[in-house]
């Protein structure tokens, strides 16, 4: 177990380094010279050269990267162009808002998908199975931002049940998930985020469970006289490692993919931050946010792999 954990941990380091290289490259592929966009157009060339040297932009790219990496490791993600605030603190505040709704929606999707997938696998070809399949196709094909807009049209504009946008009646600082008047604001973002993972996980649950149910040991259990419910618990135990893997993967996708949904609901998370960075062409802010999100995705995958090896002893040996 510990050897596996250690090896998995070591393998994460080159991936994280690769992530930082890509994030660094984002600034390089951005069109336009960062210095000329900072200064007035009539600035003398000597002054531009001095600025270039001051920011280290006259150094080779590899050296620039190492300098940047060193700063990032120290927690300095640069300053946002728009308001001169340090990127790190801004990203962290937004990240907290994103991870909470991502966690709630992925857990919601997980529970619902297990129930739906199990019913569909037991009653294959039945009406529930067909509805589940249709839901899965819909959930995989639907653009979440459109779903978000449709939810707003139905529940905010027509029915007036839920608030259309924002986070909390009194702003995001005093937001409390355990107060209904605040939580109302989170419901539609959570549902809009949850549908695609729900569809994918339902599909996987149904497929893997029906495969398990066709195996010999299920026959044996049946021959031993176990009831339907007990057999299902045995089968579900067998798909749990795969289920945990997909849970983690989907959580990672949600954290990265929430940009569109957060934009529609103006939820002040990393997605809204990315949107702001794009609109104002604030590349340092974009870079810092992407770096944090991708890093989180890598770490989530690491935790998932370790958790999986705890649940499923077969993995350690491979």
């Amino acid at each position: 177990m510990w050897m596996y954990a250690l090896r998995r941990l070591v393998l994460t380091i080159p991936i994280l380094l690769g992530v930082t290289i890509i994030c660094f490259a984002l600034v390089q592929i951005a069109p336009g010279d960062p210095i000329t966009s900072l200064v007035r157009p009539d600035t003398p060339p000597e002054q531009i050269a001095a600025l270039r040297a001051y920011y280290g932009l006259d150094q080779p790219v590899v050296f620039q990267y190492l300098m940047w990496l060193w700063r990032v490791l120290g927690g300095n993600f640069g300053t946002s162009i728009a308001n001169n605030a340090p990127v790190a603190s801004e990203v962290m505040r937004a990240f907290a808002n994103t991870i909470v709704i991502a966690l709630i929606s992925v857990l919601f999707a997980f529970v619902v998908s297990l129930v739906l997938g199990t019913i569909a696998a037991i009653r294959q070809g039945g009406i529930v199975d067909r509805l589940v399949t249709a839901l899965a196709v819909f959930g995989i094909s639907v653009p979440t931002f459109w779903l978000a807009v449709v939810l707003v049209i139905i529940f905010a504009v027509n029915l007036n049940w839920l608030p259309a946008t924002g986070m909390g009646a009194s702003g995001s600082d005093s937001f409390n998930y355990f107060v209904w008047d605040d939580f109302k604001f989170a419901i539609m973002p959570i549902v809009a985020l949850a549908l695609p993972p729900l569809a994918i996980m339902t599909r996987i649950t149904r497929a893997s469970l029906s495969e398990i149910l066709n195996q010999d040991f299920i026959q044996t259990l049946r021959a031993k006289g176990l009831g339907g419910f007990q057999i299902i618990t045995h089968a579900i135990r067998n798909i749990m490692p795969a289920a945990i893997a997909m849970l983690g993967l989907q959580l990672g996708y949600l954290i990265g993919g929430s940009v569109l949904v957060e934009t529609v609901f103006t939820w002040p998370g990393t997605g809204a931050l990315l949107n702001k960075a794009i609109l104002t062409r604030d590349i340092p802010l974009l870079q810092g946010t992407i770096l944090v999100l991708a890093g989180a995705f890598v770490l989530i995958n690491l935790v998932v792999d370790l958790a999986q090896s705890l649940v499923d002893p077969r993995i350690k040996r491979s």
């Binding site: 690769g18 592929i29 995989i140 094909s141 653009p143 569809a199 994918i200 993919g257």
Partner: protein, 300 residues
């Protein structure tokens, strides 16, 4: 938004290759496909959507970019504007037809590029193995460390908007999963006896790849590419929604959705229309790729 499923395609060719049948491979695929009415219907639907996009200049009743302040936000079923007008009084039918051109292009072109590039890298990695494999596949692993939406937003956000940048972005995002599928399929084919036999009989690497490996890698890669079309359309419309796609007054479905968002209180149904187009197109592509997967006997 759907995300690219981790690409792993265990293809068991030894069970499925109907080599002794009189009917060829594609013949047997078609034979399975012609009784699959859902897939056939979706294929017809896609053909209709593609034709509508190609012939948009002739089909659209009005100029899609001609705004009229007097006719803003007309409802669906209006006598002059069948599907209403948008927030600048432009005819929705014409805009949806023209927008479909961009959206379809964004679904298909990046997938084609990514199939060529990613497929080539995957075949090289899978065939040569060893260090070549390690360099290519570990590089791809780094890209897998990004959720696809995030990677798309990151690249497009840095490059800036515009159709060309959007195509580059989507191609880069789609290459790693395709490369992985091609690599897995190639590595499996490579270990089969007939490749050894071809090598023993003196065939060059080039001819082994082109005449033995390629044909066996083709169907899993093609099936996988077809699932990526709908993902590419959704990603592209998402980027346009964020303002990272076509520039106004040209519009694709994603940008239309974004600009009509302010009008949901006035004309909710009209505002939802572009999304319906995205949804229908993407469902059709998804169902066709499911059908192809079954017909081509590729396990996923």
């Amino acid at each position: 938004m759907t995300d690219i499923p981790a690409g792993s395609l265990p293809v068991d060719k030894s069970q499925s290759a109907p080599s002794t049948k009189v009917r060829g491979y594609w013949g047997s695929v078609w034979n399975r496909l012609r009784y699959d009415y859902t897939t056939l219907f979706c294929m017809a639907l896609i053909a209709a959507i593609v034709l509508a996009a190609i012939f948009a200049p002739w089909l659209s009743p009005m100029d899609p970019e001609k705004s009229s302040m007097a006719n803003r936000l007309r409802p669906i079923g209006h006598a002059k504007f069948g599907l209403g007008t948008d927030e600048q009084g432009r005819d929705m039918i014409s805009r949806l037809l023209w927008g479909g051109r961009v959206s379809l292009l964004m679904g298909i072109v990046p997938v084609c590029f990514a199939t060529l590039i990613g497929g080539a890298f995957g075949i090289i990695a899978g065939y040569y193995g060893g260090k070549v494999n390690m360099v290519i596949m570990r590089t791809m692993d780094v890209f897998f460390a990004f959720p696809s939406v995030l990677l798309a937003v990151a690249i497009a956000g840095s490059l800036g908007g515009g159709i060309g940048n959007q195509m580059i972005t989507l191609t880069v995002v789609l290459i790693p999963p395709l490369c992985r599928v091609a690599e897995t399929a190639t590595a499996q084919v490579r270990s089969l006896d007939f490749v050894d036999a071809a090598r023993a009989s003196g065939a060059s690497t080039y001819s082994i790849i082109t005449s033995h490996v390629l044909i066996n890698v083709l169907s899993p890669v093609l099936v996988y590419s077809s699932t990526l079309v709908s993902i590419s359309i959704i990603l592209a419309s998402g980027l346009s929604f964020l303002g990272l796609g076509v520039s106004p007054p040209t519009a694709d479905w994603g940008l239309m959705l974004s600009t009509l968002r302010q009008s949901i209180y006035v004309q909710p149904l009209v505002a939802a229309l572009p999304g319906v187009c995205i949804l229908i197109t993407s469902i059709a592509f998804n169902l066709v790729s499911d059908g192809l997967r079954q017909a081509m006997d590729v396990k996923a």
